[in-house]
């Protein structure tokens, strides 16, 4: 299994575009720190607050999510469009293991990008603002990072499933972007209905609970985690069953 995972990692790593994601991250976060310092001028802003921003789903976490989506969309569909799927699936390995190794690599890739944004925002924040007197504690930073990881993994799983179902990178990226843009609007429009709290979009951002609030009145962290788990199982089940049964013609 570890060899399959290594294979999948190499498929990302050997691409020339691999380092571009990390570069984009450095440039955007570094640039943001620079402009915030210039524009916000005298306003008190500490390094730790900047790190918090760098990791939160409504901050640069959205950028990490975008980069993960783009890689995830191609994970399965590129094998089909390149035609490499034919040689991949005639090995002495089950299709489930091959798909699982792809899913694991997406998780590892997400973690690596988040570590990068942590390091970059730590360095950029230190240079631009210094330690100062931050309003966020390290525990807050940890919580927000964890909720961003969950947020990204939910969308990555949706993207992964769409890639398996459509076998088209373009369509997958398109639908995922549409979902991300529409999710807040959908929740807002449907908020008066009781079933809305069972929608996946209502539950994706766990960082709301960290601030003591909830996406909709009456929802709890435990409830959201249960809803997320149920959706994830469903998405993965659909992906694996489809991939296992698919005729490669």
């Amino acid at each position: 299994m570890h060899k399959l995972i290594f294979n999948e990692w190499l498929k990302l790593f050997k691409k020339r575009s691999f380092f571009i994601s990390y570069l984009v991250m450095m440039v955007v976060i570094g640039g943001a720190a620079y402009f915030m310092k210039i524009l916000a001028g005298g306003e008190k802003f500490a390094m730790r607050d900047f790190v918090f921003l760098g990791l939160s789903p409504s901050g640069f976490g959205a950028l990490t999510a975008l980069l993960v989506m783009i890689s995830t969309a191609g994970a399965v569909s590129k094998e089909f469009s390149q035609g490499t799927i034919k040689l991949l699936l005639i090995r002495a390995q089950s299709r489930s293991k091959i798909l699982l190794s792809k899913y694991i690599v997406i998780f590892l890739y997400t973690v690596s990008l988040m570590l990068t944004s942590f390091v970059v925002s730590f360095i950029a924040g230190s240079l631009a603002f210094g330690a100062g007197t931050p309003s966020a504690s390290w525990l807050d930073v940890g919580k927000v990072a964890l909720s961003t990881l969950v947020y990204i993994e939910i969308f990555a799983t949706i993207t992964f499933m769409l890639g398996v179902l459509t076998r088209s990178t373009g369509i997958t990226v398109g639908i995922t972007m549409l979902l991300i843009m529409m999710k807040d609007m959908t929740v807002a429009l449907l908020s008066k209905y009781a079933f809305t709290k069972y929608l996946i979009f209502t539950n994706v951002d766990l960082s709301i609970y960290a601030g003591g609030g909830s996406p909709l009145p009456g929802m709890t962290l435990g409830f959201s985690l249960a809803v997320i788990a149920a959706y994830m199982v469903l998405f993965l089940l659909l992906s694996f069953v489809t991939f296992k049964k698919r005729d490669v013609a």
């Binding site: 691409k15 040689l87 002495a92 390995q93």
Partner: protein, 327 residues
């Protein structure tokens, strides 16, 4: 054609006779349509077998069912006795495949691509990689990205990946598609050598008939998903019925005179004549040929050549598959 057919390597083969691949009543049904219909055949060690059929006959579907890329609706495929349905990993470990043009990760080098497949199968050593790379003559291209490979080189890398895990059978779907004549010949030579030296069975699908004739020792002809016939190629004609009509080309000193004499014989039908080359083509029963020669000699006609005109595989193929519907 005759010459070419005799060139098919039929020399001694390691462990010949052992059945490597069994296709048992395999069916693929999509909706009401049966793309492949209860197809059965066996392939033995060291054999090169061609799967022939017009476009849309179900060749590709059959090949893909054998390697597990497409699920079969009914039947089973056994590779060295292991079911591809129930014991996929074990069965497929005996198979090396090239499915249409072999596609690789273009941004990786040839070596990186082979390493991908090495990691997916137990027990492939670095030495084995070097061995197959040498066999297909790609030593100098291993560090180049596959993007920069010609189609011929990609085909050779395709053979290399198929041979990596020492398979018992190679399954190739249209392996010469898009290759130039030199590339096709090279491919053919590799395959024959592999079959002879390593005792590997080879199943090839193709619609290039002359190609199959040069390469295969046996052909399986399918049409509309059903088995039409199985033919052994390059077999001598001694087993043929002595009373069967054969077509013979005669070269004589005077074709006109010969024709005048031959048309008077009831047993002979003159099929055509080329006076400028002193040739005459007739249809006659095998057993009647000595008498015909005597008669011509008595007329004072000198005979320089008597050649049988054999049907080519193409002619036979068109006959089997009803010609007009074929590709």
């Amino acid at each position: 054609m005759n010459e070419a057919m005799n060139k098919v390597a039929t020399g001694p083969v390691k462990g010949a006779g052992q059945v490597v691949l069994q296709v048992n009543g395999v069916t693929k049904q999509i909706g009401q349509k049966k793309i492949v219909d209860r197809l059965s055949f066996d392939i033995q060690q060291g054999e090169i077998v061609g799967l022939l059929g017009p476009n849309g006959a179900g060749k590709t579907t059959t090949i893909r069912m054998i390697v597990g890329l497409i699920r079969m609706s009914e039947g089973d495929v056994l590779i060295k006795g292991e079911s591809i349905k129930r014991n996929f990993a074990k069965a497929i470990s005996h198979v090396g495949g090239i499915i249409e043009n072999p596609e690789f990760y273009p941004y990786m080098t040839g070596y990186d691509n082979l390493k991908q497949y090495q990691r997916m199968t137990k027990g492939i050593t670095e030495e084995r990689i070097a061995e197959v790379v040498k066999l297909v003559g790609l030593q100098d291209a291993m560090k180049k990205r596959v993007k920069a490979y010609s189609l011929g080189m990609r085909q050779r890398l395709g053979i290399a990946q198929a041979l990596l895990h020492n398979p018992s059978i190679l399954i190739l779907d249209e392996p010469t598609n898009g290759l130039d004549p030199a590339g096709i010949r090279e491919m053919r030579d590799y395959l024959k050598r592999i079959a002879r030296e390593e005792g590997i069975a080879i199943l090839v699908s193709s619609h290039l008939l002359t190609e199959m004739e040069l390469m295969c020792s046996r052909v399986i002809v399918i049409q509309e998903g059903k088995l039409v016939t199985v033919r052994t190629l390059g077999e001598s004609t001694v087993t043929e019925n002595k009373t069967e009509q054969v077509q013979v080309m005669l070269r004589v000193n005077d074709a006109e005179q010969a024709k005048l004499r031959l048309v008077r014989m009831e047993e002979i039908r003159v099929m055509g004549m080329a006076p400028e080359r002193d040739q005459i083509t007739i249809s006659v029963r095998d057993s009647y040929i000595p008498r015909m020669i005597d008669t011509l000699r008595n007329e004072g006609i000198a005979i320089y050549r008597i050649e049988e005109l054999k049907e080519s595989l193409e002619d036979e193929f068109l006959k089997w598959t009803g010609g007009n519907r074929s590709a």
